[in-house]
Symmetry: C2
Subunit: 174 residues, 2 copies
Amino acid sequence: MESLERTLDFLARTPHVLRALLAGLDEGWLAADEGPGTYSALDVVGHLIHGEDTDWVPRSEHILAHGEAVPFARFDREAMRAAPVRSMEELLDSFERRRAESLARIRELALTPSVLERRGRHPELGPVTLAQLLSTWVVHDLAHLAQITRVLAKARAPEIGPWTAYFRVLGDRS
Amino acid sequence: MESLERTLDFLARTPHVLRALLAGLDEGWLAADEGPGTYSALDVVGHLIHGEDTDWVPRSEHILAHGEAVPFARFDREAMRAAPVRSMEELLDSFERRRAESLARIRELALTPSVLERRGRHPELGPVTLAQLLSTWVVHDLAHLAQITRVLAKARAPEIGPWTAYFRVLGDRS
């Protein structure tokens, strides 16, 4: 599969993965985190929605409009904490809708291989290509899926007695 | 939700999560691992099937039959490598079917709170309760979902350029 198509195919999966994993889970489990300042499953889905609103598509359009001349706006990793409290069902619906809109917009841009090599400027990391941005979107989804499953696992760890010794993920950092 | 019901509800989700995440992904991505002796996504689903066949339900029945008198058979974490090579679609179909059978069997056992406190003997860990075994099944699913998403993320890491600095999961151990 061609690389851009593979990226868009993967990104379309994430709302379905999250729904299969999270819809209807106990509220206490969904609100569990790894300690002060860390994300719960609810926080992660709110954070992913904020990424649809302010990161991936806006930065893609920013590269096309400005190249390296103007750095991206900074991404606020804590913005979801300022949003109104929503249930997981509301968050999943919102994320599914926003992700579909994002992917439709990327398809509208009809990005060619040479356009994918255009550079923008990240405010901390410096020059980055549009292709790198789109691949980062995939890795970002995957990293947050890894985080959600780790957080949910840690929340059940007190119930498994001596088996905790076998699960390295329970000791992974937040 | 009552604890056993919550456990069975979660376990029923995993085949759907895996299908949404993995069905139809590039074969190269599905075969990517974290180095010699580590699991690819294909290996993980094979390992989960082996768990349905030899671990969770057989050990539950073992506790009911033998209590602490006879330790569980050891679980072979590499058994999936000896199984015939199967496509991801075949593995997902097999896992979905075997998981449904496992959950039907657990429901047939009509486990009560007092039965859930019965003890068995793990060959390395010693005394464990049936409730701990069933919660470990959930944590095991979650740990392997965390593993699959981490492995898939690492496989795309070479495409994201300087953004690798932001993803701690890319440095997490296998």
